[in-house]
Symmetry: C2
Subunit: 305 residues, 2 copies
C-alpha cells in the first residue's frame, strides 16, 4: 500500500501534470486523480487518454475534497488560479506547484492560501522539448531532482508527505532557499534556454545561409540548441518575465565572458582559448559521475543510431 | 568488391581517423590502412587496438605508396604536415583532409601539393564529445553529411572516387564553396560551441552557485551545453583561430539578438519573447523531418533511460 494522498487534484494538464499522473498510477500513490485544464480541447484529450480518474471543468471543482493540489500551469497564471481556488481549499490540504521560478510564484500564490492549508512550493527539474497532455510519460521524474521550498513555518508532516510523494514519483528530493533556487536555475536552465533560442533565431535570420543548410548541417553542434529552443513558448516567456533579476545578472556575466573569448579570437590568443576549453571539460565529467548523464557518445548522433 | 583505394594513409589517429578506419573495414573500401600519429603513445594504442593494418612512425612513411592520404590532424598543424609530406606524394595520389574550417586549411596545404597530385579538401560533419583513437566507431558517419570542396581545376575522376569513398563510409556527400562553408559552419557549429563553452565557464566561475549544484541540476537545459563544451580543446582552439572572420561576424549578430531579448526581459515585453520562442520551434521540426534527429523526447533525459 503506497497510497500517500486520497485525492490529488492536477490543475493544468500539460507535460508535467500528465507525467505526474502516469507516475502516480505506476506507484499507486493516490486513491484518485482529478484533473482540470482551461481549454476544453485539452480536457477532452485527457478524458480520451484516461490518465485521470476524473476530468472536471474548473479548478474550483478540481480542488473539492483533494488533500493534494498541484498547480501545474504556466507561472504567469499562478496568481489567477490561486485567487480562484483559495476560498475552496479545505483545512489540512497541501498545495504545491511545479513552476520553474519560485520567488514570483510564492508572491503570487501565498496571499490566497487560507490559514490551515499547507503551501509548499516545488520544482521538478525534468522536462522534454514536447508539451501538452499527450507528451507525458511515467518515467519523466526517475532519478531527476525535485526541489521543495518549504517556509520556516511549514508543517513538518505535510512536508514529509509531499517529499515521500515525489520520491514515489521517482525523483530525488532536495530543499532549497527560494532566492538561491532562482539563481541556480538561472544558471543551469533559464540562461542556457535563452542563449539557445537566440542562436537558433540568428541562424534563422541570416539571409546568406539558408534554413535548409542550417537543418542539413545541424549535427555539428546546433542540433542540441534546436532541441532546447523547441521548448514551450508560453512557459518560457513566463519564466523570463518572472525570474528577471537573476536571468539578467547571469546574462551579464555571460556576455562579459563571451566578449573575453571573442577578443581572444580576434587577437589570436590560443593559450587563453585552450585553457578555457580544457577547464569546461571537467564539469562534464562531474555530471556523468553524478549520474545525470552517461558518457555514451551522443553529440551530433542522438537517437538515430 | 567495394575497394576504392589500394592504400589509405591516415595522418593523425583521433576520433575521426579511427572512425574512418572502422568504417573502411566495415565496407571493405581499402586494400590496406596505414596510420601514423605524432605521439608514440597514440601509435602504441592504435597498434594494440588493431584498426590499422600498419602503424608507422612518420607521415612521410605513411604516404608511401598510398593512393589516398587523409589529413586528420588539428587545423593548426596542417601546414606543417603538408610541408613534410609534399615531396613524398606520388603522381595521381588524392589528398584530402577532415578539418572543420576550409579557407585556412586550403591556404596552408595547397602550396605544398605537387602538380599531378589531387588535393580535394573535405569536412565530415560528425563527431562526439570524446577524442582520441579509442573513441572511434564504424557508424560515426552514417547518414551524416560530408562536404567536399573541389576547386575549379579538380580532376573529375579523383573527385568521383573520393565521393564514392565517403558514401561507402556511410555519409551523404555535398559540394560547397569554400567561404560559404566557413560561414555555414560558423552558424551551425563554431558559434554554438563557443557559446556553450562560455556558459559552462560562467557556471563554473560563479561563487554563489557551487559546482555540485550546477552538476546536480544540469538536467534542466545545461546538460546539452556541457556535452558540447567537453569537445577536444586543441581542435576547437584551432577552429576559432582559423575561422576568425566568420565566427566574429556571427557572434556579433548573436550578441545583437541577445541584447534585444535581454531588453525584452527587462522591459517585460512578453509578446516579443513569445513570438521569438514560437519561431524557433519551426527550425527544430525541419531538423527532425530532415532525419538529422528524432522527435523522441530527450531533453534532460539522455541515455539514462
Amino acid at each position: 500500500m503506497n497510497r500517500i494522498y486520497d485525492r490529488v487534484a492536477l490543475i493544468g494538464l500539460g507535460l508535467i501534470a500528465s507525467s505526474m499522473a502516469h507516475a502516480i498510477r505506476r506507484a499507486g500513490l493516490a486513491g484518485e486523480i482529478v484533473g482540470t485544464a482551461r481549454s476544453e480541447e485539452t480536457r477532452e484529450t485527457v478524458r480520451e487518454l484516461g490518465f485521470c480518474d476524473k476530468v472536471v471543468d474548473s479548478a474550483t471543482q478540481a480542488v473539492e475534497g483533494a488533500d493534494l493540489v498541484v498547480l501545474a500551469v504556466p507561472v504567469g497564471v499562478m496568481d489567477e488560479i490561486a485567487r480562484e481556488i483559495g476560498p475552496h481549499l479545505a483545512q489540512g490540504t497541501t498545495v504545491t506547484d511545479v513552476g520553474s521560478v519560485k520567488r514570483s510564484v510564492i508572491d503570487a500564490v501565498a496571499p490566497h492560501i487560507p490559514e490551515g492549508v499547507h503551501f509548499i512550493p516545488g520544482h521538478p527539474l525534468a522536462g522534454t522539448e514536447h508539451s501538452g497532455p499527450r507528451s507525458g510519460f511515467a518515467t519523466l521524474f526517475d532519478n531527476r531532482w525535485c526541489i521543495l521550498l518549504p517556509g520556516e513555518t511549514s508543517d513538518p508532516d505535510a512536508l514529509a508527505r509531499l517529499r515521500a510523494f515525489w520520491e514515489g514519483l521517482g525523483a530525488n528530493v532536495d530543499e532549497m532557499d527560494v532566492d538561491h533556487h532562482d539563481l541556480v536555475l538561472a544558471v543551469t536552465s533559464h540562461c542556457p534556454h535563452l542563449i539557445a533560442y537566440t542562436m537558433v533565431g540568428v541562424a534563422d535570420d541570416l539571409r546568406r545561409v539558408t534554413d535548409s543548410e542550417v537543418i542539413k548541417y545541424s549535427a555539428a553542434g546546433f542540433r542540441d540548441f534546436t532541441r532546447i529552443a523547441a521548448s514551450d513558448p508560453t512557459m518560457w516567456r513566463d519564466v523570463f518575465l518572472n525570474n528577471r533579476e537573476a536571468t539578467l545578472e547571469i546574462l551579464g556575466r555571460f556576455t562579459e565572458e563571451l566578449f573575453a573569448l571573442q577578443r581572444a579570437i580576434r587577437t589570436g590568443d590560443g593559450t587563453l582559448l585552450f585553457d578555457y576549453f580544457t577547464r569546461t571539460r571537467a564539469i562534464r565529467r562531474g555530471i556523468i559521475e553524478a549520474g545525470q548523464d552517461t558518457d555514451a557518445p551522443d553529440f551530433g548522433r542522438g537517437k538515430t543510431k
